[in-house]
């Protein structure tokens, strides 16, 4: 176990090193001059030069990179060209909102997707199976932004059950920051009204975002389950008279989860991508908007910072997936 974690952490350093090089180069190879964007219309050459010197953009690329890397090791992602603020702080301000949205969407997708996948497999080629599969096809084929808008139309505009934007009603003050997840912070804060309000705000964006993932999970679990249900050990279990429920859970699902988890975990990255769209539709104050603005403003340090953080998240997710598989599959523990 410890060896696995150590090996993975070593990998993490290498991956982040690679990511830093790639993002750094990409940012500098792409056309467009950030100084021009910053200096405003019709700047003089002197203004441009002074800005370049100020941000170290006049130095050779390797020198710029080494400076960037050493800052990175100190947790310093640089200074935003647009806002002149430390990017680390900006990301810390926006990231928890995105992470909260993505995590809740992911948990919903798992919590609903796995049982549905199991039911579809156990009741293969029956009405329940068809309905679940249709539902899953919907998740894969309905564009996220459209699904989100339809939800807003129904649950906000028509029924008025749920709020359409933001993390919290304006008249309520945000809960004291402990984790950065509003629903957890509100729970600790003990304010029932805030907590319920936060949950209400979470429902639509997380469902819209989670639906895609859910569809994916249903299909994955269904196919792994079908595979497990056709295995010899399942037949042996049946021939030994074990109960249906026990067989489905401990024999089939337990084994089907091993391939599923790996794939589901890796797809977590696509949730982060989907979050950008969801945040736009539901006006969620997360990383999505921050990144969009950074890209439009050619704010290279901010884009690089975002990329590094996402890469870090991705590697950590992979580590968690590995640990989970490790605990589920005795063969990996040998």
């Amino acid at each position: 176990m410890l060896r696995l974690i150590r090996a993975r952490l070593a990998m993490l350093v290498i991956v982040l090193f690679g990511v830093s090089i790639i993002t750094f180069l990409m940012a500098h190879v792409l056309p467009g001059d950030p100084t021009a964007a910053l200096a405003g219309p019709h700047p003089s050459q002197e203004t441009l030069n002074s800005i370049r010197t100020q941000f170290g953009l006049d130095k050779p690329l390797p020198v710029q990179y080494i400076k960037y890397l050493s800052n990175l090791f100190h947790g310093n992602l640089g200074t935003s060209i647009r806002s002149q603020q430390p990017i680390t702080q900006e990301i810390l301000a926006f990231f928890p909102a995105t992470l909260e949205l993505v995590t809740v969407a992911f948990l919903l997708a798992i919590g609903i997707g796995i049982p549905l996948g199991v039911i579809a497999a156990v009741k293969k080629n029956t009405f329940s199976d068809y309905v679940i599969r249709l539902f899953a096809v919907g998740g894969v084929s309905i564009p996220l932004f459209w699904g989100g808008l339809v939800m807003i139309l129904i649950f906000y505009a028509k029924l008025g059950w749920l709020p359409a934007s933001g993390r919290l009603d304006i008249e309520l003050s945000s809960p004291e920051t402990i984790t950065g997840f509003y629903f957890i912070d509100a729970l600790f804060g003990g304010d029932k009204e805030t907590f319920i309000n936060v949950l209400k705000h979470l429902v639509m964006p997380s469902l819209a975002l989670g639906y895609v993932q859910l569809a994916f999970i249903v299909r994955q679990v269904r196919s792994s389950m079908l595979d497990a249900l056709s295995q010899d050990y399942y037949l042996t279990g049946r021939a030994n008279g074990l109960s249906h429920r026990f067989l489905v859970v401990r024999y089939a699902l337990r084994n089907a989860l091993i391939p599923s988890i790996t794939i589901i975990g890796l797809s977590f990255g696509s949730l982060l991508g989907g979050a950008v769209v969801t945040e736009t539709v539901f006006d969620w104050p997360g990383m999505g908007k921050y990144v969009t603005d950074s890209i439009l403003g050619r704010d290279f340090p901010a884009i690089m910072g975002f990329t590094v953080v996402i890469a870090l998240a991705y590697v950590i997710i992979n580590l968690l997936v590995d640990l989970l598989v490790y605990s589920l599959d005795p063969q990996t523990r040998k």
Binding site: Y233, T236, A239, F246
Partner: protein, 325 residues
């Protein structure tokens, strides 16, 4: 004769998939008395495993269609019983050992736990008693270090060891009938003998009747008292092992025995059965073996019934009848 443990009468079934129907078993007859070891032989696709699975109603329900006959286990009409009723027999009254020990055990559960759950399922034992039973069950199948093995996962055991565990699970509830479907086919020859001896010993100790399925006549000869020969889902011959194997009546059984390799005779070519296995989607009207049979004559266009040629030795062949007249 005391009451039969298993009596299969006139059993016919087919697998119906969209548009196509394959007749897998046709008028199969088989019976097993208490404590008796009966062999079921036949080549691949002859319906041995289907017969075995049918006894516990483990065939895929969506495509399996029973068209005639009955399976009576200890006086219980299996085909007329509900899934719940049959499920109560599985593991408790009817034990099963399958061909492939490498995949027959749940890969993510320790040996001890798998046995434990089977034991708990079929008994009123407390947790502690069941755990103790796990130990003795493993000892009974001659596993030398049960305290180690019970904490191991299947992938840590050899094929022979796994098959012992599978046998221990099948015998855990002391069933009346043990169905062993090619239990040694996937194993080394040396291990094969050990497993067969183990099954025979357990059956004797517990008074369990055994249906031993094999394509290996040697296995059948060593272990069984009676044997039924299956060809393309039909019983062609059945009787006391020594009778059937020494004096086979049916041309198929004769050909089967001739096609056994002889280690002393390395120069001559191995005898094979000419022709092809019949297409079960279009089962011929007459004798199923006729297309490949050297003794074929006009009568074979009508399907021969299984009839007694000698004491307890039944044969489904017109040629046998005529030679005896």
């Amino acid at each position: 004769m005391s009451e039969l443990v298993l009596e299969i009468k006139n059993l016919s079934l087919s697998f119906d998939t969209q548009g196509a129907s394959a007749s897998i078993l046709k008028n199969v007859e088989l019976h097993i008395g208490p404590g008796e070891i009966v062999g079921l032989v036949g080549e691949s696709g002859s319906g041995k495993s289907v017969t075995a699975l049918a006894i516990s109603k483990l065939l895929p329900t969506q495509i399996t269609k029973f068209s005639s006959g009955s399976i009576v286990f200890n006086g219980i009409d299996i085909l007329a019983s509900s899934e719940t009723e049959v499920a109560k027999l599985r593991g408790k009254r009817i034990g099963f050992v399958f061909q492939e020990p490498m995949t027959a055990l749940n890969p993510t559960m320790t040996i001890g736990k798998q046995l434990f759950h089977v034991i708990r399922r079929h008994s009123e034992l407390t947790k502690t008693e069941a755990l103790a039973k796990v130990r003795t069950a493993l000892e009974e199948v001659l596993i030398s270090k049960p305290e180690v093995v019970e904490n191991q996962y299947p992938f840590q055991l050899s094929g022979g060891m796994r098959q012992r565990v599978v046998i221990a699970m099948a015998m855990a509830a002391n069933p009346t009938l043990l169905i062993a479907d090619e239990p040694t086919t996937a194993l080394d020859v040396t291990v094969q003998a050990e497993i067969l001896n183990l099954i025979a010993k357990l059956a004797k100790d517990h008074g369990t009747a055994v249906l031993l399925i094999s394509h290996d006549l040697g296995v059948i000869a060593n272990s069984c008292s009676r044997v039924t020969v299956l060809y393309a889902g039909e019983v062609v011959e059945s009787g006391i092992v020594s009778e059937v194997l020494r004096k086979p009546q049916h041309p198929y059984t004769q050909a089967l025995i001739k096609s056994l390799p002889d280690i002393a005779d390395r120069d001559s070519l191995l005898e094979t059965i000419a022709g092809e296995f019949p297409d079960l989607r279009n089962r011929p009207e007459g004798c199923i073996y006729a297309p490949r049979c050297p003794k074929k004559f006009e009568a074979c266009e009508v399907r021969p019934m299984l009839r007694i040629a000698k004491d307890l030795h039944s044969v489904a062949c017109w040629a046998v009848e005529t030679t005896e007249k």
